[in-house]
């Protein structure tokens, strides 16, 4: 017990000296274990519900148009964010290397017309989805607002008990 306290004090001293943030502070600020990942689209999008299989096809760019004819623009967050890792693991079923290879190969082979857009933060994601009529992206459920529309996945909304897309903080293998 004492040892733990001592270690923490030493770390605090080092952190103060080097002006370091507390360990994992930035992530912890946004990281709320057990949160759902909301799939969001532009408010004008007529789609209300997607199956997980359809969602996977959209994120893989195997399906590239919405029923209203608009081109689907997939938006991904930057590397290293828990939301992105959740999407890679639960939707793409790939790791970062596999994801990168998939899109480089797909573009090179002309299988993929447009690769996903990479965005820096949830705020930028929200703005992008708000502005781009064909956009689809994702946000923590707590970061969703009325500027975007939340899709049901397999008939469930993010606050439903059976909603499948739950954010975990495990690193992608």
């Amino acid at each position: 017990m004492r040892a733990t306290v001592r270690i923490r004090l030493v770390w605090l001293a080092i952190a103060l000296f080097l002006e370091l943030p507390p360990p994992y502070a930035a992530q912890a600020a946004r990281s709320k274990p057990g949160q759902s990942l909301a799939i969001v689209v532009n408010r004008a999008n007529p789609v209300e519900n997607l199956s997980l299989s359809e969602l996977r096809k959209i994120f893989l760019v195997e399906r590239s148009h919405w029923p209203n004819g608009r081109r689907i623009v997939v938006a991904m967050m930057d590397d290293g964010q828990p939301e992105r890792q959740t999407v890679l693991r639960q939707i793409y079923r790939m790791n970062e290397d596999g994801y990168r290879d998939y899109f480089i190969k797909g573009m090179f082979r002309e299988d993929i017309f447009v690769a996903p857009k990479t965005l820096a933060s949830p705020i930028v994601m929200r703005k992008f989805v708000f502005n781009a009529p064909g956009a689809i992206g994702y946000l923590r459920s707590s970061e969703v607002d009325a500027s975007v529309k939340v899709l049901r996945i397999d008939g469930h909304l993010p606050d439903d008990k059976d909603y499948s897309l739950q954010i975990d903080e495990q690193p992608v293998k």
Binding site: G69, K127, S147
Partner: protein
């Protein structure tokens, strides 16, 4: 726990919209403060606030006026009113997900901030390789060789139109550099079921030609199977073509059917010395036709099964015209950890009124990744008649290649490959036709450094 669909004001979509919302709320508070009778403020907090009907009407009128004023200001600033509605009505939406009828932004209308989704910009990705090759054929020397430097350039002109090209710098056996636009395509995508492309493309004969194009980076091995060698390296298939392509998905559910239909100039046939790809002028009015069909079944991720039929008529200057039919069938399983490629081709040349020649060929390739290492084995076979009218120099070529690919990093790989090739027409293995030494010698060893940037 209830799902909060609306974030606090600070999390509204844009800075300008949030400041406007705050201004609006502030204005409303000021109005309420200014209009409410002093008696209301003077009452104790525990007491019920009683507002008469007239005052309420007055307040509502005042709110209407202020909303109209805010709308005017928004219009002057080019901000859509919907942004404010979305962020200013959190209570109404807190319990249920927003629907398209609520605060719906006008997709085509003015936007708070311009965000270009499809700028016409060039995206460039590069691939290259460098190697050391040596073989046991007499007169051959172990050499360092520059491979191809491939600049894959794309530009999304708009959300339906795209330009792409493969600009390749390569060195041939005469040590001279040469630059080629191996692919130049303008693509228009109507939907998932129809994409039209025009320009120079890689003929969709089978799998290999359109899976790897002009880079060794995506290939497990150091080079292509001889069956799919480029025309200027002695290859026997019309690898490149100039014309138009229609491609897309076929509604087929989990079967994942796709089609490709191509109409092009076909290959040059008047003279073996002529440029093999008819980039600008066709030597005849007959066009080549290629149709390919393939499936990517969802049940077997990474699998692709398909066939193609290519048809053309060749007009050699010193011979009768030759009907050319190329049939290809393949089954491949390509996953990040495991790969098994199988492809067979039958090339049929039918000179008018003369003997018909059929050239069979196939390759099979298997590899498995163990960490950064990926050992592989390929066996290939091509057997052309000595009297074959289009490629009499090919004869029999068969044998295994064995090697290992080491992924040094995400961007660099190293391949070591040994090839043993039995050849019936060794005298025809002309160094002038070979770019990579491994293709010239019956037995060869190659070390290749590949990279992408």
């Amino acid at each position: 726990m209830k799902f909060a669909y609306l974030a606090p004001l600070s999390a509204s979509p844009s800075k300008s919209s949030s400041s406007l919302a705050a201004t609006k709320r502030l204005l409303l508070l000021l109005v309420l403060g200014g209009i409410l009778p002093a008696s209301v403020w003077a009452q104790q907090p525990s007491e019920t606030v009683v507002v008469d009907k007239g005052t309420l009407q007055l307040l509502l009128q005042r709110i209407d006026q202020l909303e109209a004023r805010v709308s005017q200001l928004e219009a002057a600033r080019g901000v859509p009113p919907t942004v404010l509605l979305a962020s200013a009505a959190p209570q109404a939406n807190a319990a249920s997900p927003p629907t398209s009828s609520q605060a719906e932004p006008e997709p085509e209308g003015p936007e708070p901030e311009k965000m270009d989704v499809n700028k016409t910009l060039l995206n460039i990705r590069g691939f290259g390789d460098f190697g050391l090759y040596g073989g046991d054929q007499k007169g051959e020397h172990t050499s360092f060789s520059l491979g191809e430097l491939n600049l894959f350039i794309t530009s999304n002109i708009n959300d339906k139109t795209k330009f792409l090209t493969e600009l390749v710098f390569e060195v041939h056996a005469d040590n001279d550099f040469e630059e080629d636009l191996e692919r130049v395509l303008l693509e228009y995508s109507f939907n998932d079921y129809l994409k039209l492309s025009a320009g120079r493309y890689h003929t969709a004969i089978g799998y290999y030609n359109t899976a790897y194009h002009h880079t060794t980076w995506f290939q497990t091995t150091t080079g292509r199977p001889f069956l799919f060698a480029y025309e200027d390296e002695g290859g026997i298939l019309p690898i490149h073509n100039v014309g138009v392509v229609a491609s897309g998905r076929i509604p087929s559910g989990s079967l994942g059917l796709h089609y490709v239909a191509e109409v092009g100039n076909g290959r040059t046939s008047s003279s073996p010395q002529a440029e093999p790809v008819q980039n600008f002028v066709d030597e005849n009015s007959h066009k080549s036709l290629n149709v390919a069909l393939f499936a990517r079944p969802e049940a077997i991720p990474g699998s692709q099964i398909g066939f193609s039929v290519y048809r053309d008529v060749l007009f050699p200057s010193n011979s009768v015209r030759i009907g050319e039919t190329i049939l290809d069938a393949y089954a491949v399983l390509s996953r990040s950890n495991f790969e098994w490629l199988n492809e067979g081709v039958m090339i049929r040349h039918a000179p008018l009124g003369l003997h018909v020649y059929e050239t069979p060929g196939f390759y099979t390739q298997i590899s498995k990744r163990f960490g950064s290492y990926r050992p592989y084995l390929r066996y290939e076979y091509v057997n052309a008649s000595s009297n074959e009218p289009v490629f009499p120099q090919v004869g029999l070529r068969t044998g295994p290649s064995v090697g290992v690919r080491f992924s040094a990093s995400e961007w660099v790989s190293l391949k070591l490959q040994y090839d043993y090739t039995e050849m019936r027409h060794q005298q025809a293995i002309n160094g002038n036709m070979c770019v990579q030494r491994a293709m010239c010698a019956p037995s060869a060893l190659g070390l290749q450094l590949g990279y992408t940037f």
